[in-house]
Symmetry: D2
Subunit: 388 residues, 4 copies
């Protein structure tokens, strides 16, 4: 029988930017119908915008866009487009996002919304006036364990909040020969790890605890000059901070610290936060995003004074019912992607499935060993394994 | 510009089974082109087979198959099909897999290959005679950290192997009212956790250490009767084991233990193994599949006597170059799937992006706080945050 | 005012053996009155026995014994002795322990009780007939978290037990030039890690779960010959196993595995066990003995599906009320031993307290920084620290 | 043979204060000769001072002091006293410490040295002028893993330091009915967690990284009034902070954060710090004081990108050669203290050694099971265990 899918509602997407975020966002649009049944709509990857035509063409092919263009206005105004995804560098947030809003497209814009609060206010104001939906892509709000943490806070499980401490640490600038990309230039990025990483934890602070009332802060640039991207034999000036540290006061009385760095050796993408409340506490670490550590004072009554490493893979946890059974973490599906890629490659290139893939000989031997264990269990004797 | 993708080689896939493994496998086929550039071929989801027509139709729609059928022979012999993926229960491995091999299709078959070694030998023999590619879906061979572990063993980094200990533990049968599914019937499943979970760790033992020479074992069925699926008010007999424990001897002299259970309370999908060698050791835990714990004796010289929790997310690690940057674990991409689903739903159902999604107001406030931190860093003063 | 301590009950102790266990046991006797108030009695270290007079004399001095002797009968029969502590090698358990029992002394004997069950039965029979108290020094029963684990099992918190798995792993024999000590000779030790380490986990299995009904097992000796202690240029034969692995069945129906090795590279003193019951599970690791990991199914109702790392340092935990306040782990006291040793050494040898010890200059500077933080909190300004 | 110990050098100790620190310090003095051979001197516990005579007398007895007095001057000036240990509350640091210095005694004073920097300077100046040894009891400098961390920093193993972040968190004030002890009164304590806990991490910052140049900070008192110790039905005002958070700048350019709280629910004595340097990083957690987590960039070359959990129990680690063999953590000795206490109690009170202690019956059964495992290994058969 042939499947009829024509009846489904479709939403045309224009993606601005094909790099890191472009890859992540386009994957997300495509994955929605596989996991969310029925999807609110099937996203249609209409057009992708970028500056370098060759890489752009390749991205369009790999990610599955119908069209590509090196003019962002063309992408935004494409008649098939209902949703604009702005994944461009920070200095390209203002204009295309305004344009998209004004031309009646829904817009999701990468974080931070803008290079500074003045630009951000313009975007906020435009969004207020418009009828379209707008969202800033603070994606960590959508980690199931973060949403579960929010539930625990909002429902009062941990009571009044006293402390919030968050650090988002990376180390890719420790190497002095790392090049001077746009992320290190104030003109393009606005700020360094403050905007890139700090904006995430500031947003999570507000998402989980409440409004910020005051801050103190220090910033540091550890390495002033770096090789130019376009000519590594020459150097240019780093014009953003390499790290920041801050204290934070919330309007509900809680206090804490915020920190981000690209010089925290050994921390690859360490987004770690802790909330202490009067009845309990919560800890999160992005590098183990399927887990949440929770402490409840009520457990102390039974001597069970400790932090519970909650495995956030149960049906009752946010979004998890869409994915895999209990205990199968999100990310587990990559075992199959790699496996089927291997098999496909063996088929097309006529290569041996072994030794990486398990042959039917391997499957047979596994069954022999299983039978031997069952036989030993029955006879009470050590069983020598032999294959025929 | 329009993207031309017609030139790509395509491989037609028939999927037998639409349940758990059907969902995972079909997702994998679709994800390959997004991550592997260029893919060896673009898998084409031609036809899916299942017994219950309604659920089958839905699966075909959700997973993106062109056709569906309730006759597995039709699926296997479909002229567009080059690759058959047998994800059916164990008692349906033999016949359809033989048929697929004999009709010249490449076959990947779910594990264990068969209900017992006699059946498995038939399949092995058929695969030997045929020209097609065959593989058993021992997917944990394709966890990047498992393949990295194998490299460490094969390259001699941990030296001669002394011990291997593995346990694969789940707890979904602890509840006595869990129903009597096919997995609990010997006729259909062959065995219980021995085949379902034990086969994985037996295969990993062979993949990582070498051939098995002898075993001793015990099995136990803790709860003898369970409610029938078709009528929960009646009970039927459990005819497979609930758990097994075994000692194992390898032909290279190493010894160890193997264990699997569906009664290990608190262990949701805990596939944990350890290898001890003369120069080092390795530990793996599937619930943290982006990590590998490694010990090397050479570190002791500097007093750094300890286990290194390797974050297997670097370009040099197997398969990782296809995915995300350093520190962004596999699984991280789900933040975007959930996020874009949310936005899409807000657009289609005309719902508010807040409070789950970050509005432009949130984005603006984040920028204001960032500016306050920078101002404090410059002036050395506490800055009160105010929004306009 | 002068303290009068003459009224306290005293128990005279003879210690047989001055090596590793001699050091640990004599420390324990001396520490009792410092922590247990009032102590049941003040142990008096009367006499210590050993074979090498020089080392023996030193041990007597260091550990605080009044007398020493190279004849164990003299020690056992010393009229001041009420309690004999037999910490000798396994082949010296039988005779001195029998002698002590027969001469009316209370005896604590190191584990395993004997080289084999025949010897052990003789000791058990003698103990049955006698009026004295006898104990085998299975000290891990006295880890607070192990006793807390036992409470959880006995009180039914984790329900009917399904599984027990324990491994006690060390790696000091991985080095092939490790010498052929008495522990590697069957004549003196009886067995290898089976008796040395395995006896501990067998005892814990019985202490925590119940009686053992049946076993299967394998043993392995990986390195057959080793340098003689008395002449490292010559080699002698290793006559005990280097490792064992076993399955175990309990009379209450539970099954599991036991394992011990001296070849588990990277495992220094890794005594790790797990119990799975119908309502919960427990995990313990000796290298983190202040912790216990507990899982309770009831937490699942609130989505708190996880293992709680209980910090066993609360007053309600066994023995802990005798030691330090909440959160101050046992072992924390060594910070003070090392510190006061340092200060004493500086006094006696007229050395500088700095840089290891904190001088009053350090103390002053610390206060200045504290004042600066308070000032910043008050004024809202960054405060430069300056010392005068 | 009788042991002659009269030749040893002795140092007379006066201890001011018998509470928490009194217990910890007097234990340390007594333990030195057991572990350090030969000790620089044998500390003699001469006299202890306190205000409440009854508790004082008991402390003198329990800790082993010859005399006690309720007049601190008497203690300080006792002719047998060479070393004064000031473990009194902060408002009693200045006068007795000055007196001790001036009367020619060596002094170790608890931290923080004083209630404020003015008092502290007086003590520093007196110490400078005097010939005696003085030390502030920042005991965490003497954790073996902290000293090992310092070695790694000083020897350049982690290179130039970029970041230091430390937090010392407790939660004993979360309960609103916790009483208003001296620690909550500014007059006596000077400050709250800033002085009590913050002084430790400030000192460790200076010990591990270098001098502090500037700070910003916030403090908070969450609960203003608490029940009086002397009359819980009445309340008094809390006059110190409940928590502080600060940014810190070092004179070598590093930046970071400092934080301490008594309101961090679930954190019992969580003193956690991290140092990021150009070549590596270090992390420490007091609740697992036998461990140090170390990251070195050089490991990345082999794909071993991770944090090494160093078990600081090897002879090459600071102080550890004085204690137990490899893998036997400091704290392990308490198993014996508890065990021998149990046995002593059974002897004196004529109680059964079972079920907590292992009887000779238990010892015998353990041997039987060991023999069964050996027999199974030899015969290849399951062995039923039977006891006679």
């Amino acid at each position: 029988m042939v499947v009829n899918i024509t009846a489904q509602r479709r939403v045309g997407v224009a993606l601005l930017g094909y790099a890191f975020m472009g890859k992540a966002h386009s994957h997300a649009f495509k994955a929605i119908p596989h996991f969310f049944h029925p999807p609110p709509a099937v996203p249609e990857l209409v057009v992708i915008y970028g500056r370098h035509e060759e890489r752009l063409r390749e991205a369009a092919l790999n990610y599955g866009f119908k069209k590509y263009t090196t003019d962002w206005r063309t992408a935004v105004r494409d008649p098939e487009v209902e949703l604009v995804d702005n994944s461009l560098p920070n200095n390209m947030h203002l204009e295309p996002t305004l344009e998209a809003i004004e031309s009646g497209r829904h817009v999701v814009c990468e974080k931070p919304l803008a290079r500074n609060s003045e630009e951000a206010r313009k975007l906020r104001d435009a969004a207020r006036r418009a009828k379209v939906k707008t969202m800033v892509a603070f994606n960590y709000r959508f980690v199931p364990s973060i949403q579960f943490a929010r539930q625990l806070v909002k429902e009062g499980t941990i009571g009044r909040v006293y402390h919030f401490r968050a650090r988002y640490l990376q180390d890719w600038l420790v190497n002095p020969s790392a090049p001077l990309t746009w992320r290190l230039k104030a003109e393009e990025a606005g700020s360094g790890p403050l905007g890139d990483l700090g904006s995430h934890i500031i947003d999570l602070a507000r998402f989980l605890v409440g409004e910020v009332e005051a801050v103190t802060g220090v910033v540091r640039t550890f390495i002033d000059e770096r090789p130019l991207v376009e000519d590594p034999s020459r150097k240019g000036r780093v014009t953003v901070e390499d790290a920041f540290a801050a204290t934070v006061e919330f309007d509900n009385g809680a206090i804490g610290t915020l920190e981000a760095s690209r010089f925290a050796t050994g921390r690859k993408n360490f987004n770690n936060l802790e909330i202490n409340g009067e009845k309990g506490s919560i800890e999160f670490n992005l590098e183990r995003l399927n887990e949440l550590r929770v402490y409840l004072r009520e457990w102390e009554d039974d001597g069970l004074t400790g932090w519970n490493t909650v495995l956030v893979t149960e049906r009752r946890h946010p979004y998890i019912d869409r994915y895999w059974p209990s205990g199968h973490i999100i990310g587990w599906e990559h075992t199959f992607i790699n496996e089927m890629y291997h098999f496909l490659k063996c088929i097309v290139d006529d290569e041996d499935v072994a030794p990486l893939g398990a042959t039917f000989e391997d499957g047979y031997r596994c069954n022999v060993i299983m039978d031997a264990i069952l036989e030993s269990a029955k006879t009470g004797r050590r069983v020598k394994v032999s294959f025929s």
